[in-house]
Structure formats: structure tokens, C-alpha cells
């Protein structure tokens, strides 16, 4: 267990700049989720922390040690690779026990640890198989098991559950979280899955094109996204963005809709420039009268909720209703937006106001 400090880390592949100077402070025992769109540099960052990729510039410290120039094997980390990277010529059992074998851990102790990891991951019946005899999800669990048998300073997970079915994913998510609460090893966890990031992490780092957009607790990111990118990235379905201006104390969209301003907003400082108003679909209510009128363009019901896209004059607004509503394509319904759930951003800089 150890804190991890990443300061001004940069990475260039030839002429391509992939990571542009990143600073992250991770406390001892913290669970950090690294999220961002495909190709933003998550794996690259993780591989630099692991020691598989050299830093172009900057410094990484694990515990008290500066590890930037230390080979991976001396950094005492465990990693689950995005592509699994299993040993093709070893059985599941040997794959999981390999690190312990190198450390000269006794056969009995290795067996205990491997069996425990196997039972967490539901791999007991596959222990004597070779990787090519496994399905994608099973391989991924073996990759996970290889990390779990270890007792490292830091766990690095690169989308470790991406190939599992929904049910297994929820179960594994719980197991990883429980494990982390039990042993408290510092963990950096890359994921595409919002729910994973929101439910598991103490802290989320949002990465975009090699720069950090925002770092914060999951609910912070949800409640107070620092910019348009984070606002659009965190939360599912994605936040509505409506362009407009503040005029006469209200927000007027480019298409002529009028929305009230949040109580905290100061109309005087907001006037005169183009703004973007962000509204999460789940913060929109259906009302019977006095709301904004919209024609239903799309309805999707999952049973627990109804997702609808409305055309309100020229603006398209996505809504998520938790109650059962009888709405059909082409209906006209009315919606109300709580002004305090609105987020305002500068259209030019994308910053939160």
C-alpha cells in the first residue's frame, strides 16, 4: 500500500503527443477511476505507472520512491491488462500462480492464494485449462485472478470487466469493491463503464485527449461538472445542452424557449455572451399544465423508467421519467425544469459559470 504521485507526466510516441502533462495525487489506499473516451490515453498512463512505457517527461512516485526509471518488476505493482496478456503455454492455475512462483512462495501457500482468487472469480472448474480453451470473459477473469493473488503496493486495472455479461459484471464489481475495502490497496481502475466509476471509486479522473478535464469525488463530478466535456461525459443518458443567452433575467434559447435561471446565478454577470445550459434528463419532470410544450420524437421504456426525446420548438430535449407515463410518438406533452438543477457554461470556453 502506498500513495501514488504523478506530476507533469508527458508521453510522446514519435511526433504524436499522447499525454500532455498530467498531475494526479492518489492517497494511500484510495480507489481512483480513470475514465475518458477511447484513445484518450488511459492505457498509456497506466502503462507508464506500471513501468512498461517510458515517460517522455515528468515524474511518478510510488510511496516514497521515485520510480520513473525503475523497471516494472521492481515497482511492486499488479496489473490487469486490457488485452489480458495471459501466458498461452500455462494452465489457468499456473497463470495465476506465476508471480508467486517467481517470489519462491511455497507450493501450499500458492495453492491457498490461487484457490481463494479462483473462488472469488468463479474459475474453480477451469483451473487446468489453457487460455485458448477459455472464452473471452473467462480469460479476463484469469487476468484478474493473476493480480488478485498478489499483495502489491498498487493495483492497476485496465478495463478488467469489459468482457463480462451484465450480471457477472455487477457481481465482480461488488467483489472488487469488497476486496478493496478489506485490504485497502491503492487502486487505479480504468473503465468505460459510468456505473463502475461512480459506484466503486473514491475519486474519478476524467481524461480527454491526454489532459485531465476534472478530478473529483463521483458525486462532485455529477453535481458540479467543471466543463462541457465532463458534463456530457458523466451521467447517462447524457446531459442536454441548450444554447442561448441570458436576457432580462431569464435564459432564452436561440430558438426562443425561455427558461428560468437558477437562484444562485447572477444575471448581471452572465449577460451579453452565448451560454450553454445543461440539464440532465433525469431532472426533468412531466407536468400537466404550465410547462414547456414538446412533441415526442422518440420513446423508449425499460419498465423502470421512460426515456423520451422531445422537440420543443427548435430544441431537442431528452428526458428520463421515473414514473409510468402514457406517452406515444407524436404526442405533445409538457415538462418542467427545476432551475436549481440547471448548469450554465460559457459556450466559448466550455467552462462552468
Amino acid at each position: 500500500m502506498a500513495p501514488v504521485n504523478i506530476s507533469n507526466v508527458q508521453k510522446r510516441f514519435g511526433a504524436v503527443n499522447v499525454i500532455h502533462g498530467i498531475d494526479i495525487d492518489i492517497k494511500d489506499g484510495e480507489f481512483v477511476a480513470l475514465v475518458g473516451p477511447s484513445g484518450c490515453g488511459k492505457s498509456t498512463l497506466l502503462r507508464m505507472i506500471a513501468g512498461l512505457e517510458e515517460l517522455t517527461d515528468g515524474e511518478i512516485r510510488i510511496g516514497a520512491r521515485e520510480v520513473s526509471n525503475l523497471p516494472a518488476r521492481d515497482r511492486d505493482i499488479a496489473m490487469v491488462f486490457q488485452n489480458y496478456a495471459l501466458y498461452p503455454h500455462m494452465t489457468v492455475k499456473d497463470n495465476m500462480g506465476f508471480a508467486l512462483k517467481l517470489k519462491k512462495v511455497s507450493a501450499e501457500e500458492t495453492k491457498v492464494k490461487v484457490d481463494r482468487a479462483a473462488s472469488i472469480l468463479g474459475l474453480e472448474s477451469l483451473m487446468d485449462r489453457y487460455p485458448r480453451q477459455l472464452s473471452g470473459g473467462q480469460r479476463q477473469r484469469v487476468a484478474m485472478g493473476r493480480a488478485l493473488v498478489r499483495d502489491p503496493q498498487v493495483f492497476l486495472f485496465d478495463e478488467p470487466l469489459s468482457n463480462l455479461d451484465a450480471k457477472l459484471r455487477v457481481q465482480m464489481r461488488g467483489e472488487i469493491k469488497a476486496l478493496h475495502q478489506r485490504i485497502g490497496t491503492t487502486t487505479i481502475y480504468v473503465t468505460h463503464d459510468q456505473v463502475e466509476a461512480m459506484t466503486m471509486a473514491d475519486k474519478i479522473v476524467v481524461l480527454h485527449d491526454g489532459v485531465i478535464e476534472q478530478v473529483g469525488a463521483p458525486l462532485d463530478l455529477y453535481d458540479r461538472p467543471a466543463n462541457l466535456f465532463v458534463a456530457g461525459f458523466i451521467g447517462s443518458p447524457a446531459m442536454n445542452f441548450i444554447h442561448g443567452r441570458v436576457e432580462e433575467g431569464v435564459f432564452r434559447t436561440l430558438n426562443g424557449l425561455t427558461l428560468p435561471l437558477p437562484a444562485a446565478a447572477n444575471p448581471a454577470t452572465l449577460g451579453g455572451r452565448e451560454l450553454v445550459c445543461g440539464i440532465r434528463p433525469e431532472h426533468i419532470r412531466a407536468v400537466t399544465s404550465g410547462g414547456i410544450e414538446g412533441r415526442v420524437e422518440l420513446v423508449e421504456g425499460t419498465g423502470s423508467e421512460i426515456y423520451a426525446k422531445l422537440a420543443c420548438r427548435g430544441d431537442e430535449i431528452a428526458c428520463l421519467f421515473r414514473e409510468r407515463l402514457d406517452v406515444r410518438f407524436g404526442d405533445t406533452i409538457q415538462i418542467a425544469i427545476d432551475p436549481d438543477s440547471m448548469h450554465l457554461f460559457d459556450a466559448e470556453t466550455g467552462r462552468r459559470l
Binding site: A50, G51, L52, P71, A72, R73, I77, A78, M79, F81, N83, Y84, A85, L86, Y87, P88, H89, F98, A99, L102, K103, D128, R129, Y130, Q133, R146
Partner: protein
């Protein structure tokens, strides 16, 4: 699933054929006969004839007479034959192990990136392309105790002079040196192919798992190229056990009989002493030994092949 369905179809076609032969019979023989004739003439006849000869006392230029197994009984009590068997064994083992070791080492070197790699690899492979007799000539000169370049080089490090192929105790190692020089490149090419097929990702896992360079070689590289090493062993073994040209061109089995392998003794018996019957018996025994060797090697190969291993 695929293999099952393929078996089904092949069984199906076989079943379908079974009903047809009666109608096909007069038609397909013309197509089969040429192949049968060639196989009989080239493979079956020589072997049957060799077997037949081995059961006769037959010295070239004299009457032959049937003697049954007498040639084989004589072989069992022939000290020179057992000695040649022993020479063959040592020669084979050494000329498998040495090229295998050096070839693997060379492959590991040439697998890494360095300047002029392609050129150097080309130079390294050249011995493979030389003809055995030319090689024998060059090495015989190099082995010359007084005039040879090898003793000259050894004199710098204070060793020798050695008598190389002119001494009973060093002749086999010297011949193995030539064989190794010529065939290490082949092993290198095979192993290099194996290394190219080895996936890179497991090395990153191993690095994370804490493996050092030696452990990565021992636990990843070796097992993953084992099938290729096995192929090299098979090719080399069968080649070395049959080795004739280099030995014959350089020593003819001498000095005395110190480098006489079965092949050389067999040749000398048949074509120097014209004892064809006895030579044939040797050929038969030798052939059976080679078949047995191939069989053992193929079995071992199956076990070394992780990519073909099935669930046990």
C-alpha cells in the same frame, strides 16, 4: 465442432464411394498404375532387393548363395560394427546438441534489433549453402597440424598444437565442429521463426509479475519455442545419424577406424571389400534403427508442443 462435422462429411463421401467401385473398377486402374509402378521401382524394389541380398553370401564377382540369417548373426558378433554404432551415437548426439545450443543462441541474438542485422544474418547463413565436399576440403586444410590456420590461431592463446582429424581421440569432435559450423545456421533459422511467432504481451505480464531476464527466458521463451526446437532436433538428428559426405571426404573413417560410423562401415564393406550381402544386412539394421529414432522423436515432439496440446 468443426472437426466433427468434417469427419462426418469424409465418412459420408467414403460411404458414398463404397457403393460405386463396381462401376468404377475398369476405369480407375490406368490412373493408379503409373504411381504404383514408380513407387515399386523406386522404393519397394530397392528394399526388397536389399532384404534379399542381406540373406545371401554375395561378394561382388563371385557366386551368391543363400545363407539365411547368417549375415545378421555375424553382425551381432562384429566388434567393428558395435564400435561404428558407438561412433554414430556420439557423432549424432554431439552434432545435434552443439548446433542446437549455438543456433538458439544465435537466434536470440539475431532476434534483437541492431544495426546491420540483415547483412550479418545473411553472412551467418552462408555455411549452409556450401557443398559438403568443398567444406571438407577447406576444413581439412584448416585442420592441418603444421600448416592449418586453426593451430596457428590456437598458438596465440597458448593451446596446442592439436592433431584434429589426424588423432584418434580428437577426430570425432573435429568432424562435429565442421558439422556444427555448417548446420548451426539452419537451427538458427528455425528458432528465429519460432521467436517471431512468440506473442509479446506475456513478456509484459511477466515483467509485472517480477520476472528478470533469465526467468523470462526460462519460463516464457523456452516453453514457447520448444515446438520449434523439437523440429530442429528432429531434422538435425536424422541428418546427423545419416551423415556421410563430410566424414568420407575428410577421414574415410580414419585414422584407423576412429571415425567410422555405421554409414562409413557400411560403405566400406560394400564398396571397398565388395561384401554386398553383409553390407545389406547392415543397411537393414541401420534403417530399422533410424525408423525407431524417428518414432521416438515424433513422440517427444508431440509432448513438447503446447500449441497442440489438448485438454487431458
Amino acid at each position: 465442432m468443426v472437426s466433427v462435422s468434417m469427419e462426418n462429411t469424409s465418412a459420408g463421401t467414403r460411404g458414398a464411394k463404397r457403393s460405386k467401385p463396381a462401376r468404377l473398377a475398369p476405369n480407375y486402374w490406368p490412373f493408379v498404375i503409373p504411381a504404383l509402378v514408380v513407387i515399386s521401382a523406386v522404393i519397394v524394389f530397392p528394399w526388397v532387393f536389399t532384404l534379399w541380398m542381406s540373406a545371401h553370401r554375395w561378394t561382388l564377382g563371385q557366386e551368391q548363395s543363400f545363407i539365411g540369417l547368417e549375415n545378421y548373426i555375424r553382425l551381432a558378433g562384429d566388434g567393428r560394427f558395435w564400435e561404428s554404432l558407438w561412433h554414430t551415437l556420439i557423432y549424432t548426439v554431439l552434432s545435434v546438441v552443439a548446433p542446437l545450443f549455438l543456433g538458439t543462441l544465435a537466434a536470440l541474438v539475431f532476434d534483437a534489433e541492431f544495426p546491420m542485422r540483415g547483412f550479418l544474418r545473411g553472412v551467418f547463413v552462408m555455411p549452409m549453402m556450401a557443398t559438403p565436399v568443398a567444406i571438407a576440403l577447406v576444413w581439412t586444410m584448416m585442420f592441418h597440424p603444421q600448416l592449418g590456420v586453426l593451430n596457428y590461431l590456437l598458438s596465440f592463446i597458448g593451446i596446442g598444437p592439436l592433431e584434429w582429424i589426424y588423432n584418434q581421440s580428437t577426430v570425432i569432435p573435429s568432424l562435429v565442429l565442421v558439422e556444427t559450423w555448417q548446420w548451426t545456421p539452419l537451427v538458427m533459422l528455425i528458432v528465429l521463426g519460432g521467436l517471431a511467432a512468440v506473442p509479446r504481451e506475456p513478456y509484459e505480464s511477466a515483467e509485472i509479475d517480477g520476472a528478470n531476464a533469465w526467468q523470462k527466458f526460462r519460463y516464457l521463451t523456452m516453453p514457447m519455442i520448444a515446438p520449434f526446437l523439437m523440429i530442429a532436433v528432429i531434422i538435425r538428428s536424422i541428418d546427423a545419424v545419416k551423415s556421410f559426405d563430410i566424414i568420407y571426404a575428410m577421414t574415410q573413417g580414419g585414422p584407423g577406424t576412429a571415425s567410422e560410423t555405421i554409414n562409413i562401415y557400411l560403405y566400406n564393406t560394400s564398396f571397398a571389400y565388395y561384401d554386398i550381402g553383409y553390407g545389406s544386412a547392415m543397411a537393414v539394421v541401420f534403417f530399422i534403427a533410424i525408423i525407431a529414432l524417428s518414432f521416438v522423436l515424433l513422440m517427444v515432439r508431440q509432448r513438447a508442443n503446447w500449441s497442440e496440446m489438448e485438454e487431458r
